[in-house]
Symmetry: C2
Subunit: 451 residues, 2 copies
Amino acid sequence: MLDKITELLETKKYAAIRTLLLEENSADIAEIFEELSDENLILLFRLLPKDTASEVFVEMTSDKCETLIRSFSDSELHRILNELYVDDTVDIIEEMPASVVKRILKNTDAETRLAINQILQYPDDSAGSIMTIEYVDLKKHYTVEHAFSHIKKTGVDKETIYTSYVTDNERHLIGVVTARDLLLADREETIENIMETNVISVNTLDDREDVAKLFEKYDFLALPVVDKEGRLVGIVTVDDAIDVINEETEEDFAIMAGITPQEKPYLQSSIWRIFLSRVPWLLILMISATFTGIIITSYEKALSVYVVLTSFIPMLMGTAGNSSSQSSVTVIRGLSLGEIKFTDMLRVQWKELRISFLCGITLAIANFAKLYWFDRLVLGNADITVQVAIIVSITILVAIVLAKLVGCTLPIIAEKIGFDPAVMASPFITTIVDALSLLVFFQIAGLFLPI
Amino acid sequence: MLDKITELLETKKYAAIRTLLLEENSADIAEIFEELSDENLILLFRLLPKDTASEVFVEMTSDKCETLIRSFSDSELHRILNELYVDDTVDIIEEMPASVVKRILKNTDAETRLAINQILQYPDDSAGSIMTIEYVDLKKHYTVEHAFSHIKKTGVDKETIYTSYVTDNERHLIGVVTARDLLLADREETIENIMETNVISVNTLDDREDVAKLFEKYDFLALPVVDKEGRLVGIVTVDDAIDVINEETEEDFAIMAGITPQEKPYLQSSIWRIFLSRVPWLLILMISATFTGIIITSYEKALSVYVVLTSFIPMLMGTAGNSSSQSSVTVIRGLSLGEIKFTDMLRVQWKELRISFLCGITLAIANFAKLYWFDRLVLGNADITVQVAIIVSITILVAIVLAKLVGCTLPIIAEKIGFDPAVMASPFITTIVDALSLLVFFQIAGLFLPI
């Protein structure tokens, strides 16, 4: 497709390009446009009809949006902005430099500008920040027929017409009606009789992640957002909820891998930005890993006598680290999905205690068998005495139990005291668990060997 | 709420319970029901009106569904099943033991049974397995008015009435019309004139994850599923797509943490099941970690002379492990979101090479400063000679570069040869990287010290 367009561009067959593009969905056109040079992008963008142009515009990455905005005249910019939903305009504004924002605000009409400024004031992770104001507003005394004609008249500018909101004269939300209710009802029926009055709504300041969870739970297509006084101020639609779910998931993955979450996709990010998102964590973890170094140094003499013990350090630390991240990731996801709460802590710990005991016993036996029967008797490695095999096996059991308890407890406590539990995951817990398992190893070794 | 109901249950005020429940959304009723004893669950379930009962039924966990089904008479089961969408029935069937499945199939009418059996035959991760057959079917010669009355007549049983599908006489999909198009069009207009003919559809055998991605990309509410001949066989709705996204995310998290993915929520799973999902990975990783032990053993003599080197092993392995998981998780997510493709491999490697060099240099300098200025000069640790500081710092640089290259490359190759790239993440790559960084350490040490 891109090849075809490049070819047509060379021969300046713009009409053909236009026909070709208009067969595509806006999201696909945006994908093609991402690959064009700035010059060609500006050229081809002007070929699109007004409504397609704005649909494509919101799908582009922020760099390309900026390029386009800079190429627009004020009247062109005004025309595009007029076609956008307020939530999309806000998304774009949040990514633009101040000078571009100024031009955007200058070219929107007063009412929209007011709405944009309001939405921009809500905290980044709030329901208010992801809502839009283009919803269908009905009155309870309307008939279904009246509602249809109201939707037909005003619906073209609304982000969704599948859920309509019924408000009283003070804009208090008193009911919702879905297009399904309308389509299945008799035309003479009044809205009051078919509307759902047990409305599930969210507050402007609610966490956007909790809002997204409501969509999963109730299978909604849109959710109303109300202010403290219960007045309807906007709606959140399911596509925005999906975006929130994805962004939050990406954040969790990034944090668990020791990366400061980034908004831009990897391939579009600069080396320098990626470097900055990674290096602080590596530095912190490198420094915290020196604790394990200190522990080893303090047993330096013992290790110079029983060098064989050294060879088990990576395995023990690795096994403990893997055990703890099994527990911590499970608990972190449970917390983030709302399946696990702070009040479940004891239940989780008791569960993990038993699981860790089962895992610990299994690995200890497997390890003892390997060391004693295979390494010592079959391979004839004389360094591995019965004592050594016992020390390593007991350490595995104790380390796994400790690792799993630390792994399941820290994320729950983190969430309770207001930290992101994902931050407590892999690398940090691993550092703690590394140190713990080394201490256990040397303590247990001390029981059997004169160190 | 649960307390209130328990109280009313004790005094047998069933009418009051019913009123209380009917104010709640079905998803909330299901949540309350999950907490009840089997006996009370069966009792309260019978209080619900037919349509609410089936909505609550599909929201319950499989254990409770089974309890309920076992308590139903054949006619009750028939009534509930009649209200379910086929995709929900299939979901329930997949979780039930054979005897229950038999009863379910016995109590569905012939047409639905045929559809269920067809859907059950599609592979677990295919579009066919998550689709439903209750969609609105229009003909192109219908007027909008006719379409409305058709929807009003048949829509009550359809999973969505917001997208209608236009088929010819051989059931080939020739267009789609959204309820939005219908509501905004004139009533005399024919469907042919307002339908979208560039239909984006999926094939029954397409990967359900790819299907979910189409929802994210195009912001659809439903997607048609066609067979090889282009005949419409079902639809997938956005709520199912959200479920798929969540399930796949959970799978990725589990696999990255070295856990075989489980369908049941953590708190509902038995100790034994969780144990079985974790212990094989711990065993495999424990055994593979013995490679690092072998490497250490082969440098045993050197280590007994320069014991100080031992104390750096955890830090070096940890830093390399963290570096590689930063890269691998980034690439795995990029692959899973479709942002990175196999053809991007060289681009990714070149990017990671430069990033790893920046990270490596930074950490090497920080480490050298710490060892030389702080540990040696300030703390007066005589073991840490200039050579040792240089050895450790160079190892950090080389290990980070190797770790990041391994971390970014293996997932891409895994995906190319048909493995799940997530399997290649944290624990496995870490094992490889652990071994590599140890080898680098001893090689570089050998250049500066007589070992």
